[in-house]
């Protein structure tokens, strides 16, 4: 019953995830990179829901709630860090944040 719906959902999930990965690697603005990470998380959520529906169990859906919780916490902490860095460095360019090295 659900196999028909799962395949397009998974394809969409794959597209969104790829979009997120590419964004993380190509963009320099921290905010954009951050949003791309969120995109990846939500792509995974979509995949979980799709699988959950296909298997007829609730496990995937429970996991989604966990992921959303983590994502919320991550957004809070991540945005706070970004604000702190911005105050310190006056820029949002990811490549400027390279003090932690040899």
């Amino acid at each position: 019953m659900s196999g028909a719906l799962a395949q397009p959902a998974l394809i969409l999930s794959l597209l969104l995830f790829t979009l997120g990965v590419v964004g993380v690697f190509l963009r320099r603005n921290v905010i954009t990179v951050f949003m791309c990470v969120e995109l990846m998380l939500n792509a995974v959520n979509l995949a979980f829901v799709a699988f959950s529906r296909q298997m007829g169990t609730l496990d995937g859906q429970v996991l989604v709630f966990f992921v959303m919780t983590v994502a919320a916490a991550e957004a809070a902490v991540g945005l706070a860090i970004i604000i702190a860095i911005h105050r310190h460095q006056d820029t949002l360019d990811l490549d400027a944040f390279n003090l932690l090295k040899w």
């Binding site: 990811l94 490549d95 932690l100 090295k101 040899w102």
Partner: protein, 704 residues
């Protein structure tokens, strides 16, 4: 005594308590634990006791625990005879009933067995382990047999007297709480040593008394020579203890047990002359040499005289140094199986006896003379063991404990009278000033010299008879010569101290005073003991322990106290060929004393003349045959040299430091390259993560 009274009272008032408490399985434990309790109290709350009662509290407590332990030992002895008599009675009944049923002789023997006096009692719960590791089980078990009993009585009996003496001797020492706590701890460990039913337990006691010896030799540790002497005793004993450990391990490897009784049983089944038994015996004897100050490990004992005099009496004369003799006698059946080991024991014993006696001839420190005398007498005990007369060795140990403790305590009283002077050249003429000390000291001297009917005569006589019985004329000759020398140097000590005129300065002479009764009481009791204990027939009493070939003649009803025999009867027991021996031995002793009288009372110029005439020999004796010089040379040359060249420069600097520093250098070098991976670019890290994730997924999808 007191304990018997308490038993009688309790059996009237509360029979169940009395029955539970007064058992052969309980009271010996009490004897062992009382001194430990005394130590614990003094150690934990000693200062509080001292402050509350100002002066005597700590000492009195220590005395009380040891006297009670002695009481327990006496009770044990009395009840052992009772139990033994009951056992024999049961056997007799069995024999009689079998005879009535008409059993023939062989069947009778099989069922009732021959009478075996004093089978060892094993005390404690064999099902509770002290050490339990991978199939090895060592119970915390004590052993009780006539040998243990004799040692218990010596340790706690002489120990009690010396504790009491210490009350007077140490009365002015600010550290006496520490002193008495060590003394109590020593008594505990010594009792553990002689009561322990297996080798590891014996070893614990052995090391414990070594520790207490160290602590008490260095009791006045602010004095450099005292702390040095403590170190020396401890280090020399380590050498011996290495032998003891190896012997213990080899014994376990060979017989599969640590239990002393089981070992002696197992030995009986082996043929004589096995190499492994010889090795075990010799390794254990190395330990005995260390503890009992035999050549070549005797050097620590004379130095140990730095400790307080009662300590010299208790630890370094009466009890601890005899531990080696006790161990050899305890494992007598094992030694008897190896002619080589016996020859070594007898040879070392005889050599030590003679060498130490000759060194004692030229010593001028009153305690040093007694120390070398102790070494010499210990050699005598080993000589007895080495010719197979283990019981006689224990007998000499027993009598020696009395007269040597007496002599040490007497010398302590002399030193006390002279406010710390130990040099005999500054004494003299003390006979009338301190008469109690003099008379007791004279009895001790006569006893060690072997004047009948004092204690030393019997035991020494039996040792000489033992060498004759073993057909060792050379050892007999050495023994007799040593006996003559012993009589000579002891009489010299007596004459130099108590005869003639006082040779110290006037002030010292003015201060001479007799000691308090706490010191004189033990002296008198020990003098009575030195005069009388020779009549107790210890060798017959302890004989069953050694399982020698000839049947033991002792009967159960007759205990230690039952063995009162006249000297003539004892001499007769030696057999016809030794009938002349007591006269020869006595004559030898009298000759030695006569020579000393000639040299040190009549013709006081003679000793110096002889010393001048035989310069070299005199120097050799003065340098104690150069043992200390040789050891110093060896230590400074090889031990210190080897340590600095090999252990310090090669092992420590090159190997250990090299390994540690090398590890650091290597980590540095590797991280110099590895840190380049840390670029600081966030997307670089992300790329690595992605690569990792892809590789992992790829592996999971295709490679599995």
């Amino acid at each position: 005594m007191l304990l018997t009274l308490v038993e009688w009272l309790l059996s009237k008032l509360a029979p169940p308590v009395a029955e539970g408490l007064f058992r052969l399985n309980v009271i010996p434990w009490l004897a062992l634990m009382l001194p430990l309790g005394g130590f614990a109290v003094l150690w934990l709350w000693g200062d509080a006791i001292k402050r509350d009662r100002e002066d005597r509290g700590a000492g009195l407590l220590a005395c009380l625990t040891v006297i009670l332990a002695f009481d327990c030992a006496v009770w044990t002895g009395l009840n052992m005879h009772k139990a033994e008599a009951e056992r024999e009675g049961e056997r007799q009944t069995l024999v009689r009933s079998l005879e009535q049923q008409g059993a023939d002789a062989s069947g009778l023997k099989a069922i009732a067995g021959p009478y075996q006096p004093y089978q060892p009692y094993l005390l404690g719960r064999p099902d509770i382990d002290w050490i339990s590791v991978a199939g090895l089980r060592i119970p915390f078990g004590l052993l009780l047999d006539p040998l243990t009993l004799v040692m218990m009585l010596v340790v706690s009996g002489v120990g009690s007297l010396i504790h009491i003496y210490s009350l007077g001797y140490m009365a002015h020492d600010p550290e006496r709480v520490r002193y008495f706590s060590y003394l109590n701890l020593f008594t505990f460990f010594m009792l553990l040593l002689v009561m322990g039913g297996n080798l590891p337990l014996l070893f614990v006691g052995w090391e414990g008394v070594g520790l207490c010896s160290y602590l008490l030799i260095g009791f006045w540790f602010k004095k450099k020579s005292a702390s040095d002497a403590g170190n020396k005793a401890f280090i020399v004993n380590r050498i011996g203890d290495a032998g003891l450990i190896l012997g213990t391990i080899l014994a376990f490897h060979t017989f599969g047990t640590f239990n002393l009784v089981e070992i002696t049983d197992a030995v009986a089944a082996r043929p004589a002359g096995l190499a492994v038994i010889t090795t075990i015996a010799l390794l254990l004897f190395v330990g005995a040499c260390g503890k009992s100050a035999q050549i070549p490990l005797h050097v620590w004992l004379p130095d140990a005289m730095e400790g307080p005099t009662p300590v010299s009496a208790l630890i370094h004369a009466a009890t601890m140094v005899t531990a080696g003799v006790y161990m050899v006698a305890r494992l007598g059946p094992l030694y008897a199986k190896s002619a080589t080991a016996m020859a070594v024991v007898a040879g070392v014993g005889a050599a030590t006896a003679l060498v130490a006696a000759t060194i004692a001839l030229v010593q001028t420190d009153i305690k040093k003379v007694l120390a070398y005398s102790t070494v010499s007498q210990l050699g005598y005990m080993f000589l007895a063991c080495g010719v197979g007369a283990f019981g006689v060795g224990i007998f000499h140990l027993f009598t020696h404990a009395f007269f040597k403790a007496l002599l040490f305590l007497g010398s302590g009283s002399v030193i006390h009278a002279l406010s710390g002077e130990q040099d005999m050249r500054k004494m003299g003429g003390l006979r009338r000033k301190i008469p109690w000390t003099f008379w007791t000291f004279a009895i001790g001297t006569a006893a060690i010299a072997g004047i009948p009917p004092l204690a030393g005569f019997f035991s020494k006589d039996e040792i000489l008879a033992g060498t004759l019985a073993a057909h060792k004329p050379l050892l007999f000759g050495l023994g007799l010569l040593t006996a003559a020398l012993t009589a000579f140097y002891m009489a010299r000590l007596l004459f130099m101290t108590f005869w003639g005129s006082f040779r110290g300065d006037h002030e010292a002479e003015h201060h001479v005073h007799e000691s308090p009764w706490t010191m004189l009481g033990p002296l008198v009791l020990l003098a009575v003991g030195s005069a009388s204990v020779g009549f107790l027939h210890v060798p017959e009493f302890v004989k069953p322990v050694f399982r020698l070939e000839e049947p033991a003649k002792v009967t159960a009803a007759a205990g230690v106290l039952g063995h009162l025999q006249s000297p003539a009867a004892q001499a007769a027991a030696h057999g016809a060929h030794a009938a002349w021996l007591p006269y020869v031995a006595t004559l030898t002793a009298l000759l030695g004393i006569a020579f000393a009288y000639l040299f040190y009372v009549r013709r006081r110029d003679l000793p110096d003349k002889i010393a001048a005439a035989s310069r070299t020999a005199y120097r050799v004796l003065e340098e104690k045959y150069g043992f200390d010089l040789a050891y110093n040379w060896f230590a400074s040359r090889f031990v210190v040299g080897g340590s600095s060249l090999v252990l310090w420069k090669a092992v420590d600097v090159a190997a250990i430091d090299g390994a540690v520093n090398g590890t650091g250098t290597m980590v540095n070098a590797v991280s110099r390259w590895a840190r380049l991976l840390q670029t600081g670019f966030v997307r670089g890290y992300a790329l690595v993560m992605l690569g990792g994730a892809v590789a992992l997924v790829g592996y999971l999808l295709w490679m599995r």
